[in-house]
């Protein structure tokens, strides 16, 4: 565990008026323009979404305990996996790190008092709420059964409640566009004088890369969702082969967004990890520049790989080959990052803390998930694995394994900054280990299942798959317990945790240069940043080891 860091305790610093207690009414929260409050409100909403999506996940795993019917009908199963996917992807993973931690930290990290457009920021929060309410309302109405991808022509003909879900996702998309736009403008125009491009914290780079993808890809998704909605209402048949339309066009437009979207989900996590490997090993980033350029590389190449989701859907052979090769380029940029992180950790002075435990989990999951990504990007192999549990395990390894790990790492690392309290570190590490183990137990059996031929999205299966399904469900319950434990001890810490100093991790990150929790306008005077945000090799830097 970290000893208390050697910076002055709070009593010696500024009179501690923080953004949390400067105004106390509910109204002041609902109308705030403060990026920190907006970030905290997003955090609360997103945790709730994670919980909701998680309940559906557990329900699915319980259904799969036995080969036949366990607790729900086939229809209910279809609706459950759709809502699980829709909530997790659109309402949790995509906004998760940018909208909560990005909002809270990005202005602090570039030395600004707020984001460029504070009112737009609040609007983005309310759009998110509106979209989420529409989706949850559809859930109460009986739910949709299309899967999170809304593939046509099924999504235009099923009688279930697809329309509010489509429109809800559309509205949430607007929220992410506005957030991304705000971040881009903030990074471009509001950096403090010392924060040059190459002295920007790596987390900011991660969020910046993500924002670019968000503003470039989301409008296309928005339009295609509207077209599907229109098709449902007017029966126009744009994507329905029976009426002259082209379902492949839907898939192209959908994946033109949704493949980059998977990098929307993973790049912020990479930013968190780049930030944390330095702070947790007390070393400079091994090649800051490579981390930055590979971030932009991923953002760029991500736009040219969408076709790998359509290998078996009747694309031309030439297209298949091109998309296969382009997909593999992404792995190169990811590998660059992994080498940089591992090289940073190598011979660092490491103390095992909860954030570091999640970071190590992240690195494991991204390597494993990325490698299986390359495997499914090989078109001939994908013939075998497409739409099986192998793919399910692939993307859960990255999206849940890696992205969620990063979310949890961020939550633990920045908790003292956000709320001025510390959580019990020993408990944190223990639960982190439980969660990493739970993930492995949940998803490794799914790789095996997929390879044996278990298709995805089926409620029933032959006897011989049962033992692996049971193993997976057991892992999922461990995960459930782990999350519950985190929720409990963090909520407890909000009131009863040890009071945190301004910089409890003795970090060099810019956000730690103001008090914890920060004052309403972040800084009492313009912050000076003579050193880079990850520079641990200057004399006099406090060491924790």
């Amino acid at each position: 565990m970290f000893p208390p860091a050697n910076d002055p305790p709070r009593a010696h610093s500024h009179p501690a008026v923080s953004y949390l207690d400067s105004e106390r009414t509910v109204w002041s929260w609902l109308t705030t323009h403060d990026h920190k409050r907006i970030g905290v409100m997003f955090l609360g909403l997103l945790v709730f979404m994670l919980f909701l999506g998680g309940v559906f996940a557990l329900a699915l795993r319980v259904e799969l305990l036995t080969p036949g019917r366990t607790i729900m009908s086939h229809e209910a199963y279809n609706r459950a996996f759709t809502l699980h996917g829709v909530i997790m992807v659109w309402l949790f993973l995509i906004p998760s790190i940018p909208s909560s931690f990005g909002n809270f930290l990005l202005p602090l990290m570039v030395g600004a008092k707020d984001v460029a457009f504070p009112r737009l920021n609040l609007l983005s929060l309310y759009l998110f709420v509106l979209g989420a309410v529409m989706v949850v309302w559809a859930l109460v109405q009986g739910g949709a059964d299309t899967g999170w991808t809304f593939y046509t022509p099924f999504s235009t003909s099923t009688p279930s409640e697809v329309l509010p879900v489509l429109l809800g996702v559309f509205v949430v998309g607007f929220s992410t566009i506005l957030t991304g736009l705000n971040f881009i403008a903030t990074v471009h125009t509001m950096r403090a004088p010392d924060v040059t491009w190459m002295k920007m914290p790596l987390f900011v780079w991660g969020i910046y890369g993500t924002s670019i993808i968000q503003v470039l890809a989301t409008p296309v998704l928005g339009m295609v969702l509207l077209l599907v909605a229109f098709e449902r209402v007017a029966g126009v048949g744009l994507f329905d082969p029976a009426r002259g339309g082209d379902p492949l066009l839907y898939q192209h437009l959908f994946w033109f967004y949704s493949h980059p979207a998977v990098y929307i989900m993973v790049l912020p996590g990479m930013g968190v990890v780049s930030e944390l490997v330095c702070a947790c090993s007390r070393k400079n980033a091994l090649s800051y520049r490579m981390i930055v350029w590979s971030t932009l590389g991923i953002a760029f190449v991500g736009f040219f790989t969408w076709g790998h989701h359509m290998f078996v859907s009747g694309q031309s052979t030439f297209g298949v080959g091109v998309f296969s090769v382009l997909s593999m380029l992404v792995a190169i940029f990811t590998a660059i990052k992994v080498f940089a992180w591992v090289g940073t950790l190598y011979r660092g002075s490491i103390a095992i803390t909860a954030p570091l435990a999640y970071v190590l989990g992240f690195i494991f999951f991204i390597v494993f998930g990325g490698l299986t990504g390359v495997a499914v990007a090989v078109a001939s192999l994908d013939q075998h694995w497409h739409d099986t549990y192998f793919v399910v395990a692939h993307f859960h390894f990255i999206m849940v394994g890696a992205s969620l790990m990063a979310f949890l790492a961020a939550l633990h690392y920045w908790f003292p900054k956000m709320f001025g309290r510390r959580y019990p570190e020993g408990l944190g590490v223990g639960v982190a280990m439980l969660i990493v183990f739970g993930f492995i137990a949940t998803f490794v059996p799914q790789f095996l299942l997929g390879n044996m031929g278990m298709p995805r999205r089926y409620a029933e299966y032959p006897e011989r798959f049962q033992s692996l399904h049971v193993a997976s469900t057991a892992g999922a319950s461990l995960l459930g317990f782990g999350f519950l434990a985190i929720l409990i001890y963090l909520v407890w810490s909000l009131r009863h945790g040890a009071v945190a100093s301004a910089n409890p991790w003795a970090s060099r990150g810019y956000e730690w240069m103001t008090q914890s929790p920060p004052p309403p306008h972040n800084f009492h005077e313009v912050p000076r940043h003579p050193d880079g945000p990850h520079q641990y090799d200057v004399p006099g830097v406090p060491h924790v080891s």
Partner: protein, 216 residues
């Protein structure tokens, strides 16, 4: 150095950051990014148009005969003219000629309303003919799939565009009133400029929609 600017802020209600120049720059960066998203929004529709034109070249060419080329062309003139008015309005505000600017903005609003009116006339004609998409399609002379898709694209593309015109007219109206009240001057005119940029984009998109649907 304090973060508070000494002079009154150039952008009202944005007291939270640096210099006037930084604020203006932020506003422009934000607007450009927003315009990029708008272009991409339409990009999906243009892609769909390209795909179905390749699939049904004959039908698309024939269906175009049902467009009211006169109205479409008149609308192009209206939009381009109003765009020019807005550009001159921004210029006149920079010259501190508020009265002229108000007049020009008013012209732009009227021209925009003219566009919408003509569009309404055109839609009404299509409804009467039965040139509607999907289940309401009632034109006898064309094979259904291709022609229905054409009219779908027509209605979605022009509909989404008309929605943008409507929003633009709203924005311009507000700006007109504010200009008349003397809110903008040679020193401070950022909102006017941003509103103008948006209106130019609406115009530019129409310059792509119009030839695709009415001419080629």
């Amino acid at each position: 150095m304090s973060l508070e600017p000494a002079s009154p802020p150039v952008v009202p209600q944005a007291s939270h950051f640096g210099s006037d120049a930084a604020r203006e720059q932020a506003a422009h960066v934000g607007m450009w990014v927003f315009l990029a998203t708008e272009v991409l929004l339409f990009a999906a529709l243009f892609t769909a148009y390209a795909v179905y034109r390749v699939d049904y070249p004959e039908t698309f060419r024939a269906a175009r005969e049902h467009m009211k080329v006169g109205i479409g062309t008149a609308n192009t003139y209206l939009l381009v003219t109003s765009s020019i008015c807005v550009a001159f309005a921004v210029w006149s505000v920079r010259q501190e000629r508020t009265g002229l600017a108000t007049f020009l903005l008013l012209c732009a609003v009227v021209l925009g309303l003219g566009f919408l009116t003509l569009k309404g006339v055109e839609y009404a004609a299509h409804v009467r003919e039965g040139a509607l998409p999907g289940r309401w399609y009632a034109l006898e002379e064309f094979p259904r799939p291709g022609a229905s898709l054409y009219f779908t694209l027509y209605f979605v593309m022009t509909g989404v565009h008309a929605l943008h015109v409507l929003v633009g007219v709203g924005v311009l109206s507000v700006l007109t009133v504010q200009t008349a009240w003397g809110k903008y001057s040679g020193r401070y005119h950022t909102p006017l400029e941003l509103g103008g940029m948006y209106w130019h984009l609406v115009d530019v998109i129409w310059l792509f929609v119009w030839p695709l649907l009415y001419l080629v």
